[in-house]
Each structure stands twice: as structure tokens, then as C-alpha cells.
């Protein structure tokens, strides 16, 4: 892959040099991108932690420029190369400076009919086939912590719930004058990961993801779509004779009606998945065999009402996801809990050099905890941060009802959001008793400047997010876990585009749960009992923000954060953060 990239880079460099002269005359080359200066200084709160092994404070940062060069050699083709120049603070004359090609893509239209893209693709289908779900605790993020979230998303290529993959994609459509209005097709083949050396004599296989969608507007009020996706390994590209296969098919119908005041949408979607491992026995002259085969399905009915003046949006529905439904493209998590030991900020603490447990602030600020690779098995998770829709709407073994609401008035003096759900396991885990789940999230933003007719913004935001998990039965297997996140945020515009901000977040988890252990084939092998969950995370921040324009800002803030545990030492840290971010 690296070699291919180098060839592509060279190809584009030649193209660039050729078209530079041309561009000056025809404006066939244009640039955009992002520049960021980032500086943090972290410090231990010595009053809480007995830690003489870690430095009392440490600082680091960097300047980076991501320059996107777009070349249009001809009208219907565009080539984009994103070049990153990153210089860590404290390095000079090339030392500590990195120059990377971060993205490469060519796209175009053949004969005004067929669109294509080659290189880095950002792909999404339905929420059950290919979808990059938002990470935990990010539902009602306040603006003060948005720079952290923006960096995590940008650095991990999280764009509009799409997965960044490398491959080729094409789409085209037809219009009809009878029976159906139009028919669109979209196909892609990508390689999420290539063959790599595991040890001296073993190589993993290439992992490929291919799929397609068909979308048809049957009438003005009814649309139909079908999606197919398959994650599979190509066994001959490695030394293992075992390879995973995970095809998922889904169909959906969308029906809508309304008048000049409102619009009502009903969607119905369902599909199947299959996952198995194929054993190739060609060398031994035996026919291929399969193992660990699972089949599952999903079903969702969704009803959405929204007023055309945007004052009210109301959603409600029912969802069933089979315990054996497996969709790598939709169930891969952003946070990789298997590697949360590699935290950037003080990974170890206390004089016993304990691995510091993950906290709310780590999830908000540490881009290295996040994952960009699709996983063919369900990834581990932490039930205190998400136990109900752990893998988004595609979480297996769930059935239940959900609702969402968004309410505002015409002057936008306030904005209220509600999100709730009542779910139940389809079958129990480790016991015939099933878990029952309750999800209640609410957020409100009050724009005082609109109430008071102030010229500059003055707003207050508040959100509360709770998850409740219960399972009855005997004392050994019963579960009672309650988690709650509280968030408050004040934003005051003292002068034009100059804001003073303060934010407080608190996260509590109490109760007990069982952590699920799975083997390499995703089968549950053990349940680890965690009987005394009692964790309290906090994050208090205050700072200033200056917005030069949309997506160009400078932010300086100070945070006090930490966590309390029942079974290990507490910790507290402080952080000073300075960001200058410019979208070119």
C-alpha cells in the first residue's frame, strides 16, 4: 500500500508541476486546508495524588498545516492531495518536523453520467450497514469543549458519521418517465487494512470491504433503497488459511406526506447479516469449511414529524436488533477500550505506578484513544460510559421504543432537546433474565440576549443524560447500574466576537455490571463481575474565545479535572490549553 501511495504521490507531483503553469492562467489549481497551533500544559494536583514518580507538570504542543491541493486537469476530473506539515514545539531545523501525505483522492465524472472516486473515500450507508456512530458522552457537547472534539474528529477522519476508507467508488443514476421516477446506484470496493507481518513466518490477510446501494424514488411520496456490504479477508494474501466473511443486506422504505405547515415521514428498514470464518483447505485437497457462523436481522420503524418553521421536530419508533446481528461497518466503535492504557496525559499515576483509569476528560480530549479501523468482531466497551446503545442503533440484542424531540420558538429564545428510549435484551447474557434499559437525555439552551434584546450573545446551556440498566433474578446475576452526566455552560460575548466561557461537567456511575469477554470469533467466553462501581468524574473549565470568523478562532482556557473511585486511588489534574485554529 505504501508503495502504491508513493507511486500516486509521484504521479500527482508530476501532475502538479505540469499544471502549475497551466493553473496560473486557467485557475485549475486551488487550495484549502487547515492550520492549527496547539499548546497544553498539564499539572498534577499534588494535594490529591501521592505521586513523586511523575513530573509535576509537563507541556507540549505543535503547529501544523494541512494544505489541500485541488487540481482540475480537465473539467470533469479533480485530484486532491492533502499534505501535512507538523512541527512539535521545541524542535528546530527539521528535527521533530513531519511532512506527510495525509489524503489523496481523484474524482470525476465520465461522460457526464458516471461519477467515480479513487483513493481516500468517506463512506456511509444506513445505520445498520455502514455508519460511524458518534462516540460516548458526546451527544450534548458544549461549545467550550468543542475544540477538543473537533481535533479528535479531524485527526481520526470522522466526518458526518462516515468511515474513511481507501479504494474506489462509483455512482450513477437513471430517470424514468413511468412506474418509478428515478433509480440510483452506488458501488465501492475498499481495503480497510492490508496484509502485515505478525511474526517471522506469519502474515495477516488483506481485509476488504465492498458494497453497493440502490436508491429509487418510486413516487413523490415513497422512496425505496437497498444496501449491501461485505467485509471479508482474502486468505491467499496472507499465510492463514482462515478468513472472515460478514455480508449484510438491508432494505428501507421512506414514505412522507404533509402540508405547508408540517411534514410527516415514516421509514421502515430491515435486513440480515451473516458472519462466519472460512477455512480454505485447497492445499490439502479438501473442500472449504466454515465455523462460528451467526445469522441475525434488524428491523426499525421510525416516524418523524417536523414543523416547516423548524420550531418542532418529533421522532418516535420501534427497533429490534437480533442478538446475532453482526455488521462490522456499523458496529465498529470509535473508542478502542482495548488500548485505553496508552493515554496521552499521565498514563500512570501514584507512587505505585498504577495505570490511570480512563475518565470523562480523557474521552473528551485524547485523540489517541480513538480508532479508525473496522473490526470484524464486537469491540470491548466500558458499560459506565455506554451500556444501552453501545454500538449505536445497530447494538445487537436490543428491542424497544425510542423518541427524540427538538423544540424551539421562532425567535430562538430557547432550544430544548429530548432523547429517550426503553429497551430490553432479546435474550439474556449468562442468564435467562434479560436486562432492561432506560435512556433519558435532555438539554436546554436559553439565549438570554434574545430575551433581553442584547446585541451580544449571552447564553446558558444545561444538559442531563442518564442511563439505567437493571436485571432481576438471583443475587448472583442481578444488575443495577445507573450513570448520569450533568453539563452546564455559560457563554458571554463581552465584545464583538470575543467570548468569556465557563463550563462544568460531572459524570457519576453507581451500581454493578458484568463485563463481557469474547474470544477471537466474537463468542462470549466469560462474564467478569464488577460489583462496586462507584465513579465520579468532574471537569471544570473557564476561558476566553475569539472568533475571527466561522471556523477561525483562538481559544485559551484552564481546566480542573479528575476522578474518584471506590476501588483505586482518586486523581486530579489541571490543564492550560491554547488553540489557534484556522480553516483555510
Amino acid at each position: 500500500m505504501k508503495r502504491s501511495l508513493l507511486i500516486l504521490v509521484n504521479f500527482f507531483v508530476v501532475l502538479l508541476s505540469d499544471f502549475n503553469v497551466h493553473a496560473q492562467g486557467n485557475e485549475n489549481i486551488w487550495f484549502d486546508g487547515l492550520s492549527r497551533s496547539y499548546f497544553v500544559r498539564d499539572a498534577i494536583d499534588k494535594s490529591t495524588i501521592n505521586d513523586t514518580l511523575s513530573p509535576h507538570n509537563r507541556s507540549n504542543g505543535y503547529n501544523l498545516l494541512d494544505l489541500n491541493t485541488h487540481v482540475n486537469p480537465i473539467k470533469d476530473i479533480e485530484i486532491m492531495a492533502q499534505l501535512r506539515i507538523r512541527n512539535s514545539f521545541g524542535s528546530f531545523f527539521g528535527s521533530g518536523t513531519e511532512i506527510n501525505v495525509r489524503q489523496l483522492r481523484a474524482k470525476g465524472v465520465i461522460n457526464d453520467k458516471i461519477r467515480f472516486s479513487v483513493g481516500d473515500l468517506f463512506l456511509k450507508q444506513t445505520k445498520f450497514t455502514l455508519f460511524n456512530y458518534d462516540e460516548e458522552l458526546s451527544g450534548y457537547e458544549n461549545e467550550m469543549l468543542k475544540p477538543y472534539r473537533d481535533i479528535i474528529h479531524y485527526e481520526n477522519f470522522y466526518t458526518q458519521n462516515r468511515w474513511r476508507l481507501q479504494g474506489i467508488q462509483t455512482d450513477f443514476s437513471f430517470k424514468f418517465d413511468r412506474y418509478i421516477r428515478n433509480l440510483s446506484f452506488d458501488f465501492f470496493v475498499t481495503r480497510p487494512s492490508g496484509s502485515s507481518q505478525i511474526n517471522e513466518t506469519t502474515y495477516s490477510s488483506d481485509l476488504l470491504l465492498s458494497g453497493g446501494s440502490i436508491f429509487s424514488e418510486i413516487s413523490r411520496k415513497l422512496t425505496f433503497s437497498a444496501n449491501y456490504i461485505n467485509l471479508y479477508e482474502v486468505a491467499p494474501s496472507g499465510t492463514n488459511n482462515i478468513s472472515v466473511r460478514n455480508p449484510v443486506q438491508g432494505i428501507s422504505l421512506l414514505h412522507h406526506f404533509g402540508n405547508e405547515k408540517y411534514r410527516f415521514e415514516q421509514s421502515l428498514q430491515s435486513g440480515f447479516s451473516k458472519r462466519y470464518w472460512l477455512y480454505s483447505e485447497l492445499e490439502n485437497g479438501i473442500s472449504d469449511s466454515t465455523s462460528n457462523e451467526t445469522k441475525g436481522m434488524y428491523f426499525e420503524l421510525n416516524n418523524k414529524l417536523f414543523m416547516k418553521d423548524s420550531t418542532l421536530t418529533l421522532t418516535g419508533g420501534y427497533r429490534y436488533v437480533d442478538p446475532n446481528f453482526r455488521s462490522s461497518g456499523a458496529q465498529t466503535k470509535r473508542i478502542d477500550y482495548a488500548y485505553t492504557n496508552g493515554k496521552t496525559i499521565y498514563p500512570r499515576y501514584t507512587n505505585m505506578s498504577l495505570v490511570r483509569p480512563t475518565s470523562l476528560f480523557d474521552l473528551i480530549s485524547d485523540e489517541k484513544l480513538y480508532n479508525q479501523d473496522l473490526s470484524s468482531t464486537l469491540m470491548p466497551f466500558n458499560p459506565i460510559y455506554s451500556n444501552i446503545l453501545t454500538y449505536g442503533d445497530a447494538t445487537p440484542n436490543r428491542s424497544g421504543v425510542f423518541m427524540k424531540a427538538r423544540l424551539t420558538n421562532k425567535n430562538k429564545k430557547y432550544l430544548a432537546k429530548l432523547n429517550g428510549g426503553l429497551f430490553k435484551e432479546v435474550i439474556g447474557q449468562g442468564t435467562a433474565e434479560k436486562r432492561n434499559f432506560g435512556l433519558f437525555k435532555g438539554a436546554v439552551k436559553i439565549n438570554f440576549h434574545k430575551w433581553l434584546n442584547l446585541k451580544n450573545e449571552l447564553s446558558f446551556s444545561f444538559s442531563s443524560e442518564s442511563e439505567l440498566t437493571k436485571r432481576g433474578g438471583d443475587a448472583v446475576s442481578s444488575i443495577d447500574l445507573y450513570t448520569h452526566q450533568l453539563s452546564m455552560f455559560v457563554n458571554a460575548e463581552l465584545a464583538k466576537n470575543f467570548f468569556v466561557q465557563a463550563s462544568f461537567k460531572q459524570f457519576n456511575a453507581n451500581g454493578n455490571e458484568f463485563l463481557t469477554q469474547r474470544n477471537n470469533f466474537g463468542n462470549i467466553t466469560y462474564f467478569t463481575s464488577v460489583q462496586e462501581i462507584d465513579q465520579k468524574d468532574h471537569l471544570l473549565s473557564a476561558g476566553i474565545l475569539y472568533k475571527f470568523r466561522e471556523n477561525v478562532y483562538a481559544s485559551l482556557n484552564y481546566s480542573w479535572w479528575g476522578a474518584k473511585f471506590s476501588d483505586q486511588p482518586d486523581y486530579k489534574y489541571n490543564r492550560l490549553l491554547l488553540i489557534l485554529s484556522l480553516e483555510l
Binding site: 449468562g430 462474564f527 463481575s529
Partner: protein
Amino acid sequence: MKIKTKLILSLIMLLFLHSCTKEEFEGPSIDILYGDFELIEPLTLTSKNPNFSNNEKVGFSCEFNKPVEWKITILGLSTNAKREITGLSNLIDPNVTKWNGAPSQLPFFQEEVCAIELTFENEIDTLRDTLTINSSKTFDDGIWVENFENGIPSEGIVYYKSDGGGMTFTLANDDPLLGSSYFKMGGRVNWDWALGSIDLPININNISQSSNEIYINIGILSDLVDLHLGQFINILISEETDTPFNDNANNNASDLFESTMEVYKMKVPVDWDGWQMKSFKYSDFEPLSPNDPNINFNMNPNDISAIRIACQACPSAGAQENCPENFGKDVRTDIDHIIFTSNSSLLDQ
């Protein structure tokens, strides 16, 4: 259009009902995992009077209600020889959990009564039984290198620093590992690493096992009386096939261990009291000259042509003084029962 919609809806509902999971629950039972430990089937042995000399094996069986870490301990009541077999399961299968009559480490079991205990991690239950060994295991299943029963092989080359103090490097019969003879290697050479060595030719060009499947086993004797803390044995195995074993008769050593040849090495620190049986997978040996581009280190057991077992110790005086605390201390790394085995170590055969 309405008919179309209904048709599609009906189809979806049919598929939905068809593929609902019908299992009772996922994964192992929590009630069993975290419930009280219960014995379902008692501990039984497939033989109470095994003849290990006939390669008989004793199988163990037992069943409990949940997966636990279990340990079977077999203790020879005369020799104090001990063997431990461990596992994590809810079933001990006699076809899988078998004892071949060998100890985990020396001494060997003799014809004696053995006490057997089955214990469980974090549980107080202990199951006990006994067996009587009718005939003890003979450890000669393999490809012999040397057991010294017929003296030092005539083609073998023994070399030692004759100006050292108390140099042994000779056959002895006072404390053999098995049989009646063993080879003593020891003495006192304060100023140098090397004390001496024994080189033996090997011809095993008819074996089919790979380097991952071949083990070299060697019994090593030491003692803790004024122990030299830096003593070790260096095992060199040569795959040189073009040079005669003793090409130069004047250099007191085989000529198959030059740094320009395909030679592999293993260092064995010796810091225990009494005999121990050490076993090494051949593929764990390292090339002697890994940076020499002219040598193809392809490790083929068929090509093994010689073995050198060298006695060495950290110098305690002179130009190479690295371990002054060992000055005047005797080195002892006696050897016996050198044998290649296939697929597992000698004690696991």
C-alpha cells in the same frame, strides 16, 4: 402503490419473524460461573498400578459444575519426586490429562507409592488418591547423543585448561543421573571465562522433524557449596557439513565450531543444587555469527554434525576480572543423559 407497500411490509414482517433468535441466553451461565463450586464426578484414575517402562500412561478424570483452575499434584512418597498438571476447565478428561511417569523436574519417580491431590483455585475442596508405580519410566525414547555409560566416546574431544585448579573433566560414577556414569566438568580458572569443553560428533541425517519439533535434553549437576555465581554451560550445535569433525588433530577441539560456519548457541546459567534436566527447543538456539552474510542460517536438524558443551564462568581475577567475589570458588557443571527428543521435552515424552 398502496398494494406495493403492503406487499413489501408483509415480506419484511415475515423475514423478521423467521429469523428471531431462539436461544435461551448468550455465553456461559453466570449462576454457574459465580455460584458455589460443586463436584459432579469424583477423581478417578485409569490405572492404579502403572507400568511406565512399557510407556503406559495414567489418565485422570473428574467433573465439576463450573470452569475453575485446577491442579493435580503427584508426589512420590519415597523419592519426593513431584509432578504437577494444571488446567482451566469444568472437566478433566482422561484422554487429555495424562501422566507419563515423569516428574516436573528431578528427581525421577522410582517404583514407589505416590500420593495424588487434586486442588482448585479459590476453593477449599481437595480430592486425594494414591497409586503404586509397578515399573518406573525409562528416559531413553529419543535420539541419543551420549549417556557416558561406555566411557567418553572415542571420537569425542575433551579439552580443559590444565593450568587451572581442581579441574575435573573426566568420567565419574559417584552420582550419575541415570545409569552408572556421568561426565564431570568443573574446576577453578580464575583468570578466564573458558574452563573446558567436550565436543561430540552427531549423525542424525535421517530425521524428518523441523527445528520447531526437535528438543535437546541434557542433565546438569551442580551444588551450592561455595557456589560460583557466574558459572554457565554454553551449548554449541554445528550444522557444518563440509569439514571433518577433527580436521586439525593438533588443536584439542573439533573444527566444526568456527565463527565462519553455521553454528547455533544456547547459554545455560547453572545456579542450582543437584541434578536438573534441561530441555531446549532447537529453534530457540541463536546463530553464533548472526551478522555474517556468507552463512545461511536455515536451521535444518538433518544437518546437525556436532555438539560442543562448554563449561564457562565469569573470571574473578586477571585482565578480565568481572566477578571478583567469586575468586577461588570452584565451578561445577557436570553433565549426563544428552538426548534429542521429538515434539516435546524428555520429561513430557
